[in-house]
């Protein structure tokens, strides 16, 4: 039996990110709460090394996986000031109004130094076809 999903369903989920994400942060360790993702490392349970309040998206559009897969691109976030030194290995997307952690991905471990800047290149979030 075949499974299918209209692209409008997947686009709604991706559009939810664009409509709600207003924080993008670089973290040391996996953030599992809003507090982890938005509080600076060294403050309470914070894991955030750097954060921007200007995330933007391009999409949704056809995914790379073929079929009915869909994706949205999180645009490059250049030269964010580093608030605390540490080893960046996660990137998180949050909604500040409801203090919600919405999405977390990984990045290749990279040492950051406070007061310098960090750039998050454009990256994709893709929802695959049903299987």
């Amino acid at each position: 039996m075949a499974k299918s999903c209209n692209s409008a369903v997947l686009d709604a989920a991706l559009q939810y990110l664009e409509d709600n994400v207003d924080r993008i942060s670089v973290c040391e360790g996996e953030p599992t709460t809003y507090e982890h993702a938005t509080s600076t490392k060294g403050v309470a349970t914070g894991k955030k090394l750097a954060m921007s309040t200007t995330p933007t998206f391009t999409g949704p559009g056809a995914g790379d996986g073929g079929g009915s897969s869909r994706k949205t691109t999180v645009d490059q976030e250049a030269t964010i000031t580093v608030d605390a030194s540490g080893d960046a290995d996660h990137v998180a997307l949050c909604k500040s109004g409801t203090s919600t952690l919405l999405y977390v991905t990984t990045c290749t471990l990279q040492a950051l130094t406070a007061a310098n800047t960090v750039t998050i290149p454009a990256w994709d979030i893709e929802i695959g076809s049903p299987s």
Partner: protein, 58 residues
């Protein structure tokens, strides 16, 4: 609010954020290598279900 009005608002907000991004200056800038996020369809249905519950609960 209809879809075209929503789109217009989105475009305005994106333009505002893009403008703000341009004002930043690099200092010993480090460029991260971010892994693409792939979501399984089952996760999406769970998220939609949670959103519907959120709306029902006001």
């Amino acid at each position: 609010m209809n879809e075209s009005e929503k789109d217009e608002l989105r475009q305005k907000e994106k333009a505002r954020r893009m403008k703000e991004k341009l004002l930043r200056l690099p200092v010993n800038d480090v460029i991260l290598e971010v892994q693409k996020g792939v979501i399984d369809i089952n996760d999406v249905f769970k998220a939609i279900d949670e959103k519907l519950k959120e709306k029902k609960n006001g």
